[in-house]
Symmetry: C2
Subunit: 348 residues, 2 copies
């Protein structure tokens, strides 16, 4: 089959690789219907994270089950399934606690699993899923093609935006600021709205993303950043800041922006992979601003969000503004790197 | 009147100072019945925080109202009152949000208030309270002398321990670790127990404090620290750590201990004044461990905790294991500095 391999800075290639084979009894082979490029894939692509040796890449996919091991109970051949951006058994103590990204038996796409097998990267034609029962959620029926982008967001960005909102404690009447206008930040707006936020500020400087933000439920747009951004946010909220701030970037600047935009006693829900180094505690301590979040346990959110995606009540698939064949995966990375696209969907 | 002045490292003196006078209309003069030395007073005492010029010190007191300004409505001359470790109006937006330590009009004992007057330090014979209605809570009747230590803890340590527990989200069935066996850490055990924790581990190496911890509700004691401490805690809790960790020290070591002792998805409630520098985000992010807390808004907790202190349902006054006349304030500091006492109560 063909799958994407990253070789180094700005060097991703679609290559012929070995077909996956069932090996653990509880695994499944899924034929990928759609995959995509994540903002976090850009860290190795840009060389910010070094690529020591070529390896498979991609961690978001939906597809159709092609084969299952003898122990698999919850999905069957022919099912359309959503996979989270990681593999998990959904039964261990951490999964039970709702933190399936810390699954004791889980792993990551594009790497060896704990049983010695290989879990393929998602930007390819097929993926072996080590824990099929724990990881995969089947849709009630075969979705329309137009529903595929929305379903694909449940693999990562919609669940991750939701995690930011849940971690920040967004509830009926909350005032919310979203830092980051990438796919996750935009999905965080959807999440904040459906959780009942009374006012949602999107911090964005790009007209196209501002438009999506408004469509998703943002009530205000703030273009300023840094101290000017903080001043504008505080001006909007009683001079003190917002109840909940959703940090969806991960840099030092975005984290500072988030912390200073929260009101005393407010909470920052953060899901951006941290690339900004250590943070000072005093600005949190002196104003009682909390920090909660992390690697989003999106598997646990699929059941809650899936019906709304299928019914069209929420439309997170809108974050995909470019669709390319898998053969053009290199162009997909370039388009996101150069900000020509918010998020690129790939069809094998 | 006499009041305590700190001059520098290990140099506190009881001196003759000017009597306070009413000045703002909403203020009150309180005759101090009992004050005490706080762990945080030891930072300047030990020279960790430099003392640039001599100033008044002490921020915990209870007393009897001696005079009130014409605008005061909620306390009257002769009332026995509890003051929080800060002054607040209890009406501004931050106070309404439950974060009275960020009161827009508040201030700190031993410094000028925002109206140009002076709020006396608490280790003295009298204190002028700028916002009497916002800051002071009167007891229903004159307490017995034996009740005074417990009431005094509502000025800081009991409320601060409670803040750690509330910030960490302790609720029915929570597993809890308390880092720090000072007065705040011990009160945090009381708080965790009354909020319904199923198991409470006190991290302590001192037999006298372990005894108080057990008395307050600790179910387990862990003496190990650092990596050994983390290993022991994880062993006690399914190999993963506790739901809630209450950080009541503020050093780098104690913060690391707290973060690593929380399970994936757990929450650290921290109230120790941070002295440890910046913290790494990755250990929080990768395991979804949240960090919540700050300068405890104890004013807001007095109404909830006061009846239980008065009834004896909780006995936080037990943290005072030495009582001295105010004239011996220097000895009170030395006893705490040398760990001869957990907490020293001072009677003017």
């Amino acid at each position: 089959m063909r799958a994407t391999v990253i070789y180094g800075e700005r060097d991703v290639r679609l290559e012929e690789v070995a077909d996956p084979i069932l090996s653990t009894g509880g695994d499944a082979i899924v034929r990928v219907v759609a995959a995509c490029v994540c903002g976090s894939d850009l860290w190795p692509y840009r060389g910010v994270q070094p690529t020591d040796e070529p390896h498979r890449i991609g961690h978001e996919f939906v597809g159709v089950v092609e084969a299952i091991g003898p122990d698999v109970r919850t999905v069957k051949v022919g099912d359309f399934v959503i996979a989270p951006f990681y593999d998990c058994d959904n039964t261990c103590v951490n999964c039970q606690n709702g933190v399936s990204t810390s699954c004791l038996n889980g792993g990551w796409w594009g790497s060896d699993d704990q049983l010695g097998g290989f879990a393929d990267g998602a930007q390819g034609e097929k993926v072996r899923v080590p824990h099929a029962d724990g990881s995969l959620v089947a849709t009630p029926s075969m979705p329309d093609d137009a529903q595929v982008p929305g379903l694909l967001t449940l693999a990562d960005v919609m669940g991750t935006g939701h995690h930011a909102a849940v971690s920040a404690g967004v509830t009926t009447g909350s005032t919310v600021v979203v830092v980051g206008d990438g796919a996750v930040g935009l999905c965080a707006i959807i999440a904040a709205k459906r959780l009942g936020a009374s006012r949602i500020v999107a911090m964005s400087r790009h007209a196209d993303r501002q438009a999506v933000a408004r469509e998703f439920g943002a009530t205000d747009i703030v273009e300023e950043r840094g101290e000017a951004g903080v001043a504008r946010i505080r001006e909007l909220f009683d001079g003190i800041g917002a109840d909940c701030v959703l940090e969806c970037v991960g840099t030092k600047e975005s984290m500072d922006q988030a912390i200073e935009s929260a009101r005393p006693g407010g909470m920052v829900g953060y899901v951006g992979v941290p690339t900004g180094g250590p943070i000072a505690v005093r600005p949190l301590f002196s104003r009682n601003v909390g920090l909660n979040g992390g690697v989003a346990s999106v598997r646990g959110y699929v059941e809650e969000l899936l019906p709304e995606v299928l019914s069209g009540a929420i439309n997170p698939g809108r974050v995909f503004d470019l669709e390319l064949p898998l053969a053009d995966v290199a162009e997909a990375y370039a388009a996101m790197d150069e900000r020509r696209a918010i998020k690129v969907l790939l069809r094998p």
